[in-house]
Structure formats: C-alpha cells, structure tokens
Subunit: 150 residues, 2 copies
Amino acid sequence: MDIPQELRKLGLKATLPRLRILQLFQESKAKHLNADDVYRLLHDEGIDMGLATVYRVLMQFADAGILIRRHFESVASVFELNEGGHHDHLICTGCGRMEEFLDAAIELRQEAVARERNFVLHEHSLSLYGLCGDCADSVQPGSGRRLRRS
Amino acid sequence: MDIPQELRKLGLKATLPRLRILQLFQESKAKHLNADDVYRLLHDEGIDMGLATVYRVLMQFADAGILIRRHFESVASVFELNEGGHHDHLICTGCGRMEEFLDAAIELRQEAVARERNFVLHEHSLSLYGLCGDCADSVQPGSGRRLRRS
DNA sequence: ATAGGTGCAAAAGGTTTGCAATCAA
DNA sequence: TTGATTGCAAACCTTTTGCACCTAT
C-alpha cells in the first residue's frame, strides 16, 4: 500500500514533513538518527521544516510504532525504523559504528530473571559498548597505552 | 581508612560538599539518586550547596569510580554507589521499584556476541522493564484492561 | 469548512561553564 | 600561600508548548 494511505490509517494526515521524514529513514545510510540529524539532513535537501515539527513527527511515529526511540549513552535520543524484529545493539566507542544483534539465549534468560523475581516483562534495553576490530587495531601496538575515547 | 583520606588519595580535597554527598549515598534508603534528588535531600538536612556543585561532585565521583552513572529511560541520569560487583537492573514501570540482578549466562553470551563480531567489550548496560508482582496484581482482574503507566 | 498540522518563538528541564570569592592542605 | 573548590548566574542543549497561520481531507 502507499505511504500516504498508511499514514491516514494511523490517523495521521499525509503532510509533507511526515512524508519526507519517513522517506529519510527509509533511504538514509545511517539507521539511527536523532532529531537534529533529521532536521539537518532535510535542510541539506533544501526542505525547510521547523525543529519543533521534527520532534512532533518523530514522537508521533514512535507512538504509532513506525519508529523506535532508543536511549543510548548520549544525551539525545535516537530513532530508527521499526522493521518488526526486536534486536539489541553493539556499539563501537571508537568510531560510533553500530551493529545489531539478537541472541536467543540472552532473551530467554531475561525472561527467566524476570519470572524468578515475579515481574511481568514488557521490554528491555541492552547495549554493549566496546571497540570494533578496526578501532582496536589502531591502538598503539606493543604499548599498553589506549586511545582516548573520541 | 577514613573517608577524607580516601578522597585525598584520589586527588580530591575533603570538602564538606563532597563528604556530605558521599555520606548521603552511603546512608540513603534509595540507592539511585539523580542530581536533583541529592540537592533536595541535602537541603532538607539544612545543607545549602549549589546545584552546580552537586553536578560537579557527582561527575568527579563517577570519574573516580566511587559512583556509577546510569542512564535509564528517564531524562535525568542517576548515580549509585560503586560497590564493586557489576549488576544489571529490573525496573517496575508501575511503582518505580528497582531490583538488581546478575545473570552469569547473560554475561557470558554478551562476551560471546562481541567476540563473534570481533569487538573488544568494555561495558554494557541492560535494563529490564515490566511490572512487579504488586503492580501486576493491581491490574483490573478479569478484564483485559491494563493500568496506564503511572 | 474544519480538524489537524506547521512554523516560530518562547519556555522548560537537565547539565555545564565563567568568574570572583573561599577554603583545604 | 596557593591551587583547588564553591556559589551564583548565565549559557547550553535537547525537548516541549502556545499560538496564529496554513492545509489535507
């Protein structure tokens, strides 16, 4: 089905800001964008939309399940397209690279932990931080010294 | 050893704000406090210290390893005493109650996931969100309805 | 036509910083 | 004494909100 119609089904009018933001997430190389990224990228395309609108649309999309809002260590929250499958993140603190993963054993143990403590689990957030192969290699070899965090 | 001396060993002068904040974390019932909590609790004790100082001290303590800074879903970051053992959190979205847990299997799998992707792991953050027994019980029984998040 | 959406500017949290005054060592 | 630390106020950054104008349906 076409996008405008899908938006309407969610009770959202198919306005230009909404269509452009959705398109950005669908086409952008970076899967994770914060409000300012979106604002800036659209401006670079010559689309002049207010930051407040970006925030409003991102929230509406997150509420509607089109986007997922994530809270990593950074101050600003980032959004990514909700493509259905749940996943967690592995983040390189050197270059910012982000990989997704899903580990069945971890998912099962999370359920078990919650059950043992009599909790009904609704969601979870798991982020692993470290250095990717490339960044680990750029550490001064031989010395114990470590590159400062970038 | 006494606290003032330990602070000095870390290169921090044993000032009143520092001593009071440390004492607060050691004696407070709530293990997780944000900057504003600390500021408010100390003011309630009649200690009149600036919010900026609270922030500075919390950061210094976190850098020194005395405190751990956590980023949960809420906007403000919270701090807890670093008592050595790593642990993750199980948080009730109904009443805010927080339980700590450590699951060996999860820890191992995290290492494995990182290894498979050629990452050197430095840290991770795992938070489980759900309803604790008490809050789950307060859901309208019989109906499928769920209590709104408080 | 009109309910919903937008831009702008202002406000609202949370956090950081510059600076002169103060304090621990 | 002297460099570290503090309080205050102002600045910053991210996010939210009020309001008059605009637009998709």
